[in-house]
């Protein structure tokens, strides 16, 4: 309101800040997801690239529009919408119809994030809200998988549409009770490298783990959730495998199949919707693991990762509430306050 002589800035301490910023975090996550995206483009070619592009652009546009609608500052430069768009794309099968992707973007950004007030305020992982919404609304389109075909290996692009994913085959085996050995379905190397049908991001475990380690090194995710989550799925999977080796696949199959690696490294570790303290994250990872195995082996849907993470997102506020770390110099409250408080 007045012309400023060169006045000094007065603010509360501390006066040094970490060079880190939300924008930097978001673009680092995008970089961490890049290997998986590139591998999917390598395997599914144009179908994957167009899904990624449309989903990212869709999410950014929807966020900008909704920000204007809700009279909020448009902050698409911080890359949050790009991350969500990329994650949503990695959750969709290659070659998904364009209208489905746009609806997915609308639900992901609209219902998943902006309705709660924008970045950092949502309670469910937006990309997963979008994916589960699409899975339940358009079951057919969401489960038509394209056969992967190495990009430059020549020959017509096979449009074998409905080749089932390894998990899909396992689910049919369990439902029809036809025991076929879990790992006979596809060889390990294919599953690890991503040469198997499935959603864009779910195939190549190596690329995902690479991205995950990069994030871990940068410190934007901690080991707690991925390790407990994947560990729990492996252990439970193995136990069920011992109970009935013919029907239930081995732990390695569980880890490499479906969206577990993508879910554990990028979805479950989403800062906004996962618990803050180490202890809470371990409970979170354990919960996700148990629910994933239950749904995979006994549930109706072949893939339980998305539902597991959403359910644990719902439980996060309660986990945070009961895993408050003991503070320095903790003095237990005097007895009668304790009793009074418990009314």
């Amino acid at each position: 309101m007045t012309e400023e002589k060169n006045k000094f800035i007065v603010s509360s301490s501390p006066h040094l800040l970490t060079p880190d910023s939300v924008t930097k975090i978001m673009w680092t996550v995008v970089a961490a997801l890049a290997p998986a995206a590139l591998v999917s483009i390598y395997f599914f070619g144009f179908f994957s690239a167009y899904v990624i592009a449309l989903s990212v652009v869709g999410c950014v546009v929807v966020e900008a529009l909704l920000a204007k609608l809700f009279k909020r500052p448009v902050s698409i430069r911080d890359g949050a919408a790009v991350v969500t768009g990329l994650l949503l794309a990695l959750n969709l099968p290659a070659g998904s119809p364009w209208w489905m992707i746009l609806i997915g973007c609308l639900v992901t950004i609209g219902l998943g994030k902006m309705v709660y007030g924008g970045l950092g305020q949502n309670v469910f992982n937006p990309a997963l809200v979008g994916r589960v919404f699409l899975l339940i609304s358009f079951p057919v389109q969401m489960t038509t998988w394209r056969a992967p075909k190495a990009l430059f290996s020549g020959g017509p692009a096979t449009d074998a549409l409905t080749s089932a994913t390894p998990l899909g085959m396992m689910k049919e085996a369990i439902l029809m009770n036809k025991p076929i050995m879990g790992d006979k379905i596809t060889s390990w190397t294919d599953m690890a490298s991503g040469y198997i049908p499935g959603s864009l991001g779910e195939t190549s475990a190596i690329a995902l783990i690479l991205g995950g380690l990069f994030l871990l090194y940068k410190g934007y995710i901690t080991w707690h959730i991925p390790v407990t989550y994947v560990g729990c799925v492996a252990v439970m999977g193995q136990i069920f495998h011992w109970i009935n080796p013919a029907l239930y696949p081995t732990a390695l199959f569980h880890i490499l199949a479906g969206g577990l690696i993508l879910g554990a490294l990028f979805m479950a570790t989403d800062m906004v919707t996962s618990p803050m303290t180490g202890k809470g994250q371990i409970i979170f990872g354990f919960g996700c693991g148990v629910i994933t195995v239950i749904i995979r082996l006994f549930g109706g849907y072949p893939e339980g990762v998305s539902f597991a993470i959403l359910l644990m997102n719902a439980a996060t506020p309660l986990i945070d509430r009961y895993t408050v770390p003991k503070k320095y110099g903790f003095v237990p409250p005097p007895k009668e306050k304790e009793a009074g408080g418990a009314a």
Partner: protein, 345 residues
């Protein structure tokens, strides 16, 4: 059909007996007043008063934890009955309004430093406050956030109350870290809008509309309503007759007169010399002996209109500097019987 009636009545009987016994065992002393209050309350269970339902609010009301006005839904006659039930008389006090005691000129007020941080007056005040004047309104709107009736707005850096919307609930008074907001009755038109307690030199160096405690207003006030409290003029609302003399006298015009414009009184030829106006004039500006034409001394007149309201012979009119009659004399009031005349005066 008979079996149906039989079953139902039997079941009804069993439940009734069971509940009768249970209500004895689990008897809880309920204050009858709370019951009555709950009936009177609108029963919307809206939770506006912060209680889960009207029963909760009624209990709090009976326990004197809350006031009648805390129930925003209740209309005036509900409040009347509530007051009667509680034995508390609902004081229909005159409408009161919050006033911000700071009115610097935004284009002139300088900043001591560029404040960066949480945009709240408390936060800025903790770091000394960015304004040159260390008592002035910081304009971050803590009062606006505290007001549930959005009766206070920030206009180019300065808090301003909207009298119509203000319910004088006092939330803004607590919210302001520099205690600039006070509650005055709406009728109080003349207000000192400055809170700077520094000495004259310090005040004038930061704000041209600051009270420099020159005491001119104290001298100018015909009814001694103004006193100087640690370097700031303070107007006693009861004594003040809103004549605006102080406002005109103040060199830095930090005393604001929101009443309508004031004019000097002038006596015309209809004057019967009843000496009532001379008696009532606080400034002693009217002279003249009994039964003779009275004269107003324009320099002494403090334009408080007391003589204008009192004169019942249409002989006092209000004129501006050039003597043009701005407000004609008050029409004669039909005098009631002698007994009531005291009242009319």
């Amino acid at each position: 059909m008979l079996t149906a009636v039989l079953i139902l009545s039997l079941l009804g009987l069993i439940s009734a007996v069971g509940l009768g016994v249970a209500s004895r065992v689990f008897y809880v002393e309920i204050d009858p007043l709370v019951e009555k209050l709950t009936e009177v309350l609108p029963g919307a269970n809206c939770g506006g008063c912060g209680y889960a339902g009207c029963a909760g609010f009624a209990a709090a009301l009976a326990a004197k934890e809350v006031g009648i006005n805390d129930c925003s839904v209740a209309d005036s006659d509900t409040k009347q009955t509530l007051a009667r039930l509680l034995g508390v008389e609902l004081t229909e006090t005159a409408k009161e309004v919050a006033v911000v005691h700071c009115k610097f000129d935004p284009s002139k007020m300088q900043n001591r430093f560029e404040y960066k941080g949480v945009s709240s007056c408390k936060a800025a005040n903790m770091l000394g406050g960015q304004l040159d004047c260390s008592y002035g309104c910081l304009g971050f709107g803590d009062c606006v956030k505290a007001c549930n009736f959005n009766a206070i707005v920030i206009k180019d850096g300065l808090a301003e109350v909207i009298p119509e919307k203000c319910t004088s609930c006092g939330m803004c008074v607590e919210a302001c870290p520099r205690n600039l907001i006070q509650i005055h009755s709406l009728a109080q038109k003349v207000l000192v809008l400055c809170s700077n307690k520094d000495k004259a030199k310090a005040v004038s160096s930061v704000c041209k509309i600051g009270c420099i405690a020159c005491n001119k207003c104290v001298k100018a006030c015909p009814v001694e309503a103004i006193s100087m409290v640690n370097q700031i003029a303070v107007i006693d609302d009861e004594k003040c007759i809103a004549c605006g003399a102080c406002a005109r006298e103040c060199p830095t015009n930090c005393i604001f007169d929101f009443g309508e414009t004031h004019y000097v009184a002038q006596i015309n030829d209809k004057c019967t010399g009843c000496t009532l106006c001379a008696l009532k004039c606080p400034a002693g500006a009217i002279s003249g002996d009994k039964k003779q034409m009275h004269v107003v001394d324009p320099k002494k007149c403090v334009r408080c209109r007391i003589c204008y309201d009192i004169c019942n012979f249409e002989s006092i009119e209000l004129v501006n500097e050039e003597g043009k009659i701005m407000i004609p004399p008050r029409p004669k009031k039909q005098r009631k019987k002698k007994k009531d005349s005291g009242e009319a005066a």
